[in-house]
């Protein structure tokens, strides 16, 4: 069953009115709750609201901070709505979607959406989570993967990158163009962790390999930090401090053979060179009434360079198999077909698990980016790694 657009359209009916972030670092030196609180206060302030105006909170399932933790810390007296979305990096755009649903159904009026993590000083994604006892079972299916040394997200995406090279002749340099493009955007963004460090193709190609064909600069930055946004109705948004950034449309989606578990079973899908982004794209474009040629700028989920490469195809910016040539031609650079990750992305700004991409999408529509796309009116933001995905289309009011 599919709802018709007329029945349940949320198009342009809600807006992001506030954004806030902490600094991005390798060791924040303070608690998870403090990080979440600081980002939340900054977002609420940016909206011209007070914590007491917030009546809804949406969190990511992998966050250590609970709804009530943050409500208590902020002094929110009465929460009427809360929700969580996951797993992990799939969440951010879908979290905004939860806020939209809550607002349009009358369950909340102003919803705080946040993601906080101490991804470097706390639990590190790059570390194997496998214990030394027996692994797997209980629906995890790790028993088919961990005993063979397949232990981290980077390793699974390496297998996918290798397959893209096999099927389409994609080159290591193609992935390098993505890393270099994101780095160049970070070099103009003082908040980026890689702000002061340039990156050349020689440096990229000679970097130490992590899981071939992926090397050091194909991996995002394990980061401590927090991001938050405030979502409200388009009507209420007019009273906020800054011009509202309309949520043109939001979508979640999965592939036809999603497979169980968090990540490794995705290697059993019919295609491992296609992300659930392809499904999210169909739904989002339909709901937004827009297509890839309408996108002025995109913030593409980049836990690894390869996820950007695959998404360029999934989102229809180029044909299947042609993303390597597309990036080699500079089509993701400023002034080209689709400028991406204009703050440096997860690869060079920081990895707040998809959430900092939403903040940068808002900045682009406001005209506040450090790599501003002139006259940007439509920004695509994606949270589409594995196993399903979500995405937002933001536009100027």
């Amino acid at each position: 069953m599919t709802a018709t657009d007329e029945e349940f359209s949320h198009r342009d009916r809600c807006a992001i009115v506030g954004i806030g972030a902490t600094e991005y670092s390798r060791d924040a030196g303070r608690s998870d709750l403090t990080l979440a609180t600081q980002a939340a206060l900054a977002a609420i302030e940016d909206a011209g609201l007070a914590p007491g105006d917030i009546d809804g909170i949406v969190r990511c399932d992998m966050d250590t901070v609970l709804h009530n933790d943050l409500a208590d810390s902020l002094g929110i007296r009465e929460l009427t709505y809360w929700a969580q979305v996951g797993p992990g990096g799939v969440a951010p755009c879908a979290m905004v979607g939860q806020a939209v649903g809550a607002i349009l159904s009358g369950q909340a009026t102003a919803v705080l959406v946040f993601r906080e993590l101490r991804g470097r000083s706390g639990r590190r994604f790059g570390r194997s989570a496998a214990p030394d006892a027996k692994v797997g079972g209980a629906g995890s299916y790790d028993e088919f993967f961990a005993p063979h040394g397949l232990l981290t997200p980077g390793q699974i995406f390496a297998v996918m990158a290798q397959r893209h090279m096999i099927e389409y002749g994609t080159k290591k340099e193609d992935l390098g163009h993505i890393a270099l493009t994101c780095r160049a955007r970070a070099n103009t963004n003082p908040a980026a962790q890689m702000h002061a460090r340039t990156l050349t193709m020689d440096q990229y190609l000679s970097a130490r390999p992590i899981a071939r064909p992926l090397g050091l600069f194909d991996f995002c930055l394990e980061t401590d930090g927090a991001c938050a946004v405030v979502v409200t109705s388009a009507a209420r948004a007019r009273d906020c401090r800054k011009p509202p950034v309309l949520i043109r449309a939001v979508a979640q989606g999965s592939v036809p053979d999603p497979q169980p578990g968090i990540q490794f079973p995705a290697l059993m899908r019919a295609s491992i060179t296609e992300l659930p982004a392809s499904s999210v794209a169909r739904t989002l474009y339909r709901r937004a009434g827009l297509g890839p040629r309408d996108v002025d700028v995109a913030q593409l989920y980049d836990c690894f360079t390869i996820t950007v490469l695959l998404q360029l195809e999934d989102w229809g910016f180029c044909a299947k198999g042609e993303s390597g040539q597309f990036v080699a031609d500079g089509e993701i650079d400023l002034g080209s077909a689709v400028p991406i990750n204009t703050k440096g992305g997860h690869l060079s700004e920081g990895y707040i698990h998809g959430m900092n991409h939403i903040l940068e999408g808002v900045r682009q529509i406001r005209g506040e980016s450090t790599s501003q796309v002139p006259g940007a009116e439509v920004c695509l933001v994606t949270s589409t790694p594995l196993p399903p995905g979500s995405a937002l289309m933001l536009r100027a009011a």
């Binding site: 790059g126 570390r127 194997s128 496998a130 030394d132 006892a133 027996k134 692994v135 797997g136 079972g137 209980a138 629906g139 299916y141 790790d142 028993e143 088919f144 993967f145 961990a146 005993p147 063979h148 040394g149 397949l150 232990l151 981290t152 980077g154 390793q155 390496a158 297998v159 996918m160 290798q162 397959r163 096999i166 130490r208 390999p209 992590i210 899981a211 071939r212 064909p213 992926l214 497979q259 169980p260 490794f264 079973p265 290697l267 059993m268 019919a270 491992i272």
Partner: protein
């Protein structure tokens, strides 16, 4: 292949949905799960067949030959039981190409896409694990 045996993570082998896979491996058999009602392949193994609605499944022995679908040579160590470099292979079954398995090959293996692979049964630890190596 004795030179390739070493301590490794041991899989849970008594899960209701996947235990039969390791039970077969103990007998030296590589099996996949299929629906007893309509024959649909249920991989990764699970109880319910959404094609025909049957809950009756069975373990079907397969030949143990595959082709190399993709791989990664791991160079950055993340677990003490897996010294680098090592290679994680993704193998497509010759009998049932829609079914893939992951395997561990020691070292930085020289591999070519589509090359023939063969299963072997690693009985180093208390649970026998089907592994893959290039076929000779």
């Amino acid at each position: 292949m004795d030179g390739t045996r070493s301590a490794r993570l041991v899989p849970v082998d008594d899960d209701p949905d996947t235990g039969g896979f390791f039970e077969a491996a103990r007998r030296g058999e590589l099996v996949i799960r299929e629906c007893a009602g309509c024959g649909a392949v249920l991989h990764l193994p699970r109880a319910y067949c959404h094609t025909c609605g049957s809950w009756a499944g069975r373990w079907r022995p397969v030949s143990g030959f595959g082709t190399l679908y993709s791989w990664t040579v791991v160079e950055h160590q993340v677990h003490p039981l897996y010294p680098v470099p090592y290679t994680v292979v993704l193998v497509e079954l010759v009998d049932v190409p829609s079914v893939r398995f992951v395997g561990h090959v020691p070292g930085a293996a020289a591999l070519v896409a589509g090359q023939r692979m063969q299963v072997w049964f690693d009985d180093t630890a208390e649970v026998v694990v089907p592994r893959w190596r290039p076929s000779r």
